[in-house]
């Protein structure tokens, strides 16, 4: 039997390694071969509803780029890396992603479940990332490749309190139950919500962290109902249906008003809660908060067309047409591709800083809404500002982009409906009270 010599084996190994993951440019230029966007997020586990929303963003962004010449001729592809929503599983997933894909152009996802552990790994690999985490530890991050297109959780919490105190259609709620999942991401809401609500005259009836994925919450609900809250502030993804149905059951078939974070504007959450408590109660008792999207304009139109077309690859993709994170990550991928074209480089160390230039723009920049228009403007020698499906971005020096909140609900088909706005004065009060 043929047994290769160590030298032959070594040469073979080098050839195999060289063949893996496409090619990289040497000394500038955009190189050749496919580019990869890594979607690192929970696709299984209690937060399994998050990953698909981000994957859908990539599936919509890739054709926007590929059908317009790609990134210097290179097509963009998407790949899932499942963290199971657990830091322990996220680290090997992130290591595998960066080690086995030399053609990574960007990473999207990294929720609060795993951002703290995977962001440093991705940063060390010099790959631009767009993370869907609201954790305060990233408010002043030093990670150069980290980008956040959504406000920190504290603002989401303030908006929920704003909905409770200033929302339309009800008197200010005075006694709130905080029912948040025991995961890192959900617990980030508790302190700012408590501060804002109590400093503005409210009382926290009960702060009840619940174990996500538990088989039932009967005793928890009994304890919560005993405190007689006016409203429930909640983010318990994956367990919302179980908990809320129990509330309805134990409360004699009547729901208590509940206010969800922006993560509850999600088709899987809608379906789960609708099936559990019924559409009538969901429409009547639910209020949510979200960033102020218009769901219109050329960027959104292209996003929507591509998202619907992505159904052939991922049948649930069209469900994410109004999911804020899907819109934002779509924009993040387009901005990264434009940054690569603008710098004529596939080296992240070169194009990373350009992402923020393209997002924030300058006073003289040409506003573009699509990848096609962006490439055309860049080729014409213009400076550009990309305003995408999720609207304008305004990055600060810590790569955090901020925007305002709206008060929302659902219609019977699961579409987001704007029900009100927080005035600048109300917003200032909430931020001052929340500290």
């Amino acid at each position: 039997m043929f047994k290769p010599s160590p030298l032959v084996s070594a040469v073979g190994a080098i050839l195999v390694l060289a063949a893996c993951g496409g090619s990289t440019p040497t000394g500038g230029g955009l190189g050749t071969g496919d580019l990869l966007v890594g979607v690192i997020a929970p696709f299984t586990g209690a937060d399994a509803g998050l990953g698909p929303a981000y994957y859908a963003a990539c599936l919509a962004a890739a054709p926007s780029i590929n059908s317009n010449g790609g990134v210097g001729g290179r097509n963009v592809k998407c790949e899932q890396f499942d963290t199971r929503g657990e830091p322990a599983d996220a680290v090997p997933a992130a290591n595998k992603m960066v080690a086995s894909n030399s053609n990574l152009m960007a990473v999207v996802g990294c929720t609060s479940d795993e951002a703290a552990t995977v962001a440093p790994i991705i940063d060390r690999a010099h790959i631009p990332m767009f993370c869907m985490t609201g954790q305060s530890e990233f408010n002043k991050t030093t990670l150069k490749y980290f980008h956040r297109l959504v406000p920190a959780d504290v603002y989401d919490a303030f908006a929920m309190v704003g909905s409770a105190l200033f929302g339309p259609g009800h008197d200010p709620y005075k006694k709130a139950a905080l029912v948040f999942g025991d995961d890192i991401g959900s617990q980030a809401f508790v302190a700012p919500a408590t501060n804002a609500f109590t400093h503005l005259g409210g009382t926290i009836a009960i702060n009840q962290p619940i174990h996500l994925g538990a088989s039932s919450y009967r005793t928890e609900v009994a304890a919560m109902l005993k405190t007689k809250p006016d409203v429930i502030l909640t983010e318990a993804l994956g367990s919302a249906g179980t908990y809320l149905k129990e509330v309805k059951t134990q409360n004699g078939g009547k729901m208590i008003p509940f206010i969800g974070s922006s993560a509850t504007i999600d088709p899987t959450w809608f379906q789960q809660v609708r099936d559990a408590i019924g559409i009538d109660d969901l429409l009547k008792y639910y209020a949510g908060v979200d960033l102020g999207y218009t769901f219109s304009g050329p960027a959104y139109s292209e996003f929507l067309t591509n998202l619907n077309a992505a159904a052939s690859t991922f049948k649930d993709a069209p469900k994410y047409k109004q999911r804020g994170s899907t819109l934002h990550l779509y924009d993040g991928i387009i901005m990264t591709a434009l940054a690569m074209v603008a710098t004529n480089s596939a080296d992240p160390k070169v194009y990373n800083s350009k992402i923020i230039d393209i997002a924030n723009g300058t006073s003289s920049a040409t506003v573009v809404n699509t990848y096609k228009d962006g490439v055309a403007a860049l080729k014409a020698g213009k400076s550009i500002r990309f305003v995408g499906a999720g609207g304008e971005n305004n990055f600060d020096q810590y790569n955090n982009s901020q925007s305002g909140y709206i008060l929302v609900g659902y219609d019977k088909d699961g579409n987001e409906v704007t029900v009100g706005h927080l005035t600048p004065d109300q917003t200032s009060k909430l931020i001052a009270a929340g500290g």
């Binding site: 994925g213 919302a240 179980t242 149905k245």
Partner: protein
Amino acid sequence: MDLYVAAFGFGLVGMSVIAIAAVGFTMQFGITNMINLAYGEVMISSAYVAYYVNKAGVTIWVGMIAGALFGAVFSFLLNRFVYAPFQRKGTSHIGMVIVSLAVSLMIANLLLPIVGYYSVSYQDTTGGLLRAGGIVLTTNQIAIIGVAVVLMLLIHGLLRYTRLGKAMRATAANPTLARNCGIPTQRVIDAVWLITGALCGLAGVVAAMNSDSFAISNGAGFLITALAAAVLGGAGQPYGAMIGAVIIGLVTELSAAAWAPEYKEVVAFGILVLVMVLRPQGLLAKRGALAAAG
């Protein structure tokens, strides 16, 4: 105090669900010597079968029967076409555990594209609310407790008073000797997979009803709870599994009332660890219906 009484009532429901699952699991192990880590995935698969039946407009109680039938047939086929061939080849005990783990992962991943990752609920499973002395239960929860009690009595009757039960006990104690005594052990084992598979399927539907809302990811949690109750009571001991279910079901709910609810499972499993330290063989080892003589 009211909360503790209510929690006790909820614990009764929880222990009923766990008991059905744990008794099926422990009988499977006690008689066939197979630690079937795919048990939780068979449970969740059966829960989905009942879901689709229920979604078609059929009452969930009929869906429960469909789930039990599916669990029985699926488990039987799983043994016949996957586990038994490996066992015939002399695969070690740990090897069989790995095989069942692989089967578990395969079922979960095959099911995912079919049922999706999102949570679903059965229709009209709540029933009316009944209050008695601080205990608050729905009529359907009371029915779940009733189903569990009836099943436990049937299992007791099966093992103690029927020829099949006696053959099961003999096969569990010494399969070679049982075969030499004329007991058709292969047919007994087939019957065990059908019966425990039905319990598994039924437990899956009941657990899904108990959760109000369930998803594919719940399979792992179902397995852990059943496994814990089975180990606590003494692996392979049906009566031990019943006691284990009572302890885990009640402790979980009462600790949620007494302490931080996010730690309720920590408390329950802490007790499991403590029992394992003090009595590694479990609470009822060598005392249950399947125990070897002496």
